[in-house]
């Protein structure tokens, strides 16, 4: 029933193409049903298949139906969508699949070898034991060769760069144990460790696969970089005709026509036309900026009200937007040098274990035990200390914690993000869209039922952000729209129409000092509707919770000083206003130079470099694509609390990870003397290994409820 809709090549008379969209608004079975049932009813669409986990919809359609029509069809069903450009089967999914396959093979090998080993432990002797050992070898060798590859190749990479990581002691342990067991088998000896080697791989692969699942789950929904930037522009030729030109083919000096609602594809200067521009992505300022002839405009801004003719000055790689992307790229470099806790632990652990094994070998040789027995003991030391529980200690805790956070609306990208979140000691918040909701909320309390119906009828006809904000507010109150005839949008002025013989309008108020507002006129009656960008309801509680965790918070915003200070006073925070992306980056670098580990929470493209440079970063789900990609975690919904929750759970996770490590070390302290004195048999090794892994997993499961308090 869940077979993915295949791209039917045999449907030859009508070659269909498949287009993918991310649809973040898909939340329930009803949404899946609606999309999959309604879309194929449209002309040219053959099938639609929703992937609920990835929040994606694959649509099979006739080539004559273009992307815009599909987007409109989805919008008509009530879903905002964004086309997905990149290859749907990304590298990440490939890696997870490889690990899961290796895990399956290791599981098969472990069960069958264990079956044979148990018989040997139960007392099989002579020819039967030899037969069982040979069968074990027959199963274990290919399994180890296949399932061990992720570890062997990673260890080889590390060694060839003269470094060491977690995989080096694992690989050495597995290879030596296999070689010794093979020797014992050929020699007809009593002890073969095949089951230990395969079991070790199985448990470690389980840890790796969990890690990969966690990364996949959150990255799936995150769209392509710079999706906000206009991808093409209408260039006006000298004869007055226009043609669409892709963004990367634009040249400085070209004259382009930007329609209302369109995003700018390059930087330029306005030649003709007056309009308002939404610069929120670049500056973080929520109020539209008015622009007229001579104004400098930037790529990424959205033209709100009237068409503009713009002479391009900077294109493609030279735009202010591309500059931000470059800053982000550079700022992100410092983060890649972060060393995961598991690798830090193994740097201490591996030399100790390897010298212990070497000492055991030398010691028993001096004691005159013969090289065969000395080698057996040295390898027993390696097997018993092989960081099986250690390999699980970190991923098990992190996967449980990220699952708990996911249920509370926070998507953490990977384990390293959780580790870094736990280490942060100061928090910096952007204002617009982070502390506030980032969209104008209409105050409709002054309107009566008729006015509400008329307002909705008008507002629904426009894509201006104020109209959309007003329509959203009215729809939340279950207002039925009135039938408005002859609706016209006059750019820069507003909307007019006729309702029951009266002229009705949503227009600009005469008093410009009122800030964000619109005036609803019905006949001669006029009502002013004001808009505000309110703080998230639980902003102050969240900040209090952060303070409780010992984190000082402050505001770092690109918005003007006035609004920023108002918010800062209300929340009792320090604030830095009018910060450019470069200035935000500099503030973070300065904090890091002072030895702090800053947590950046922001949404705009102007926060991008700061998000990438911070020790850890969180972005709201409404953030620009680029910011969501730069951030370590994304929170969904209108609440800010997931930010504080993330810090608390990340710290709880690190506590559990440390407990797990402490347990693994304590277990080794007990087991190593047994191994050193040659008392470890394959049976004891197998029991000890699975027991320690189970304890670590059970301890990690305690995190499942960590986000619920």
């Amino acid at each position: 029933m869940n077979a993915p809709a295949p791209v039917t090549a045999e449907d030859s008379e009508r070659p269909l193409i498949s287009t993918r969209f991310t649809v973040p608004g898909m939340r329930c079975a009803g949404c899946i049903a609606k999309i999959e049932r309604e879309l194929p009813k449209l002309q040219g669409i053959t099938a639609a298949r929703a992937n609920f986990s990835a929040k994606r919809v694959a649509i099979q359609h006739d080539p004559s139906v273009d992307e815009t029509r599909l987007l409109e069809a989805l919008r008509a069903l009530g879903f905002e969508a964004e086309p997905v450009a990149e290859n749907p089967l990304g590298r990440e999914t490939e890696e997870r699949k490889r690990l899961t396959r290796a895990l399956g093979v290791a599981g098969f090998g472990m069960m069958n070898v264990m079956l044979l080993s148990v018989s040997v432990w139960a007392g099989a002797e002579g020819a039967t034991r030899d037969l069982f050992h040979w069968l074990s070898a027959l199963i274990a060798l290919p399994v180890i060769a296949y399932s061990g590859r992720p570890f062997f190749s990673s260890a080889w990479m590390a060694l060839s760069h003269r470094r060491t990581n977690m995989d080096v002691p694992i690989s050495i342990g597995v290879i030596l144990a296999t070689a010794l067991s093979l020797y014992e088998t050929i020699d007809g000896g009593g002890h073969a460790y095949f089951e230990s080697a395969v079991m070790l791989l199985f448990f470690l692969l389980a840890g790796r696969a969990l890690d990969a699942v966690m990364r996949d789950r959150t990255r799936a929904g995150i769209g392509a970089l710079l999706g906000r930037m206009g991808k093409s522009a209408s260039v006006i030729a000298p004869d007055g005709s226009t043609r669409r030109v892709a963004a990367h083919e634009l040249e400085p000096g070209m004259l382009v026509l930007v329609a209302a609602g369109e995003a700018l594809a390059a930087d330029g200067e306005i030649q003709d036309g007056t309009s308002a521009l939404d610069n929120a992505m670049l500056t973080g300022e929520s109020m539209p900026e008015s622009a007229g002839p001579g104004s400098i405009v930037h790529a990424g801004a959205i033209n709100l009200s009237a068409p503009l003719r713009i002479r391009l000055t900077h294109v493609a790689e030279d735009t202010a937007l591309a500059e931000i992307a470059r800053l982000m790229d550079e700022a992100g470099q410092s983060r890649s040098s972060y060393v995961r806790i598991a690798d830090r632990a193994s740097r201490l652990y591996a030399p100790v274990v390897h010298s212990l094994a070497a000492l055991a070998f030398v010691g028993w040789m001096i004691a005159g035990a013969g090289w065969h027995q000395s080698l057996v003991i040295a390898i027993a030391v390696l097997i018993i200390t092989c960081p099986c529980a250690m390999g699980l200690a970190v991923p098990a805790a992190q996967v449980v914690a990220s699952g708990a956070l996911l249920r509370r609306g926070l998507l953490v990208k990977d384990g390293s993000a959780l580790e870094r979140l736990a280490e942060c000691d100061v928090a910096l918040f952007d204002k617009t869209g982070t502390l506030t909701l980032g969209e104008p909320r209409a105050d409709i309390s002054g309107l009566d039922t008729t006015a509400r119906a008329v307002a909705l009828g008008l507002a629904q006809a426009s894509r201006h952000p104020l109209s959309r904000g007003l329509a959203a507010a009215l729809l939340r109150e279950d207002v039925e729209p009135a039938m408005i005839e002859d609706v016209r949008e006059v750019s820069g002025q507003g909307l007019t129409g006729r309702w029951q013989g009266l002229t009705v309008a949503l227009e600009r108020p005469d008093d410009a000092r009122q800030g964000l507002a619109t005036r609803l006129r019905i006949g001669l009656e006029a009502n002013t509707i004001t808009f505000a960008d309110p703080l998230r309801a639980d902003a102050s509680e969240t900040l209090a919770a952060l303070t409780q965790e010992g984190m000082a918070a402050s505001i770092l915003s690109g918005d003007r000083t006035g609004p920023v200070e108002a918010v800062a006073r209300e929340l009792g925070l320090d604030a830095e206003a009018e910060a450019s992306p470069q200035a935000k980056l500099a503030t973070l670098e300065a904090l890091k130079a002072q030895g702090f580990r800053p947590l950046m929470v922001g949404d705009g493209l102007n926060d991008g470099p700061a998000l990438a440079a911070a020790h850890a970063s969180i972005a709201p789900g409404t953030a620009s694509d680029a910011s969501q990609q730069a951030a370590d975690a994304v929170f969904i919904g209108e609440k800010l609390m997931p930010v504080a929750l993330a810090v608390r759970v990340a710290r709880a996770t690190m506590r559990i990870v440390r407990e797990n490590f402490a347990f693994s070390i304590a277990y080794n302290v007990l087991a190593v003397p047994l191994a050193l004195f040659g008392l470890i048999t394959p049976l004891i090794a197998a029991i000890a290994m699975s027991l320690s892994s189970l304890v670590v997993v059970a301890n990690s499961l305690r995190l499942a409820r960590s986000a619920d308090r």
Binding site: M1, G30, I32, R37, M111, L115, T128
Partner: protein
């Protein structure tokens, strides 16, 4: 002793069968949309959910 000659191949064969089933289900996309599969059961529309394509 002759029992082993049957039992071991049977045990191995069953293990391999399970492994093959696992690989098949992975290749078939059974694990691609776990949350979706959990919610699809709630869509109560006769004949819906079959792949038309």
């Amino acid at each position: 002793m002759t029992g082993l000659a049957f039992l071991i191949p049977i045990a191995l064969g069953m293990g391999l069968l399970g492994l093959a089933a696992f690989f098949w289900s992975m290749k078939n996309g059974q694990y691609d949309d776990m949350d979706g599969a959990a919610t699809r059961i709630l869509i109560d529309d006769d004949g819906f959910g079959e792949d038309e394509a």
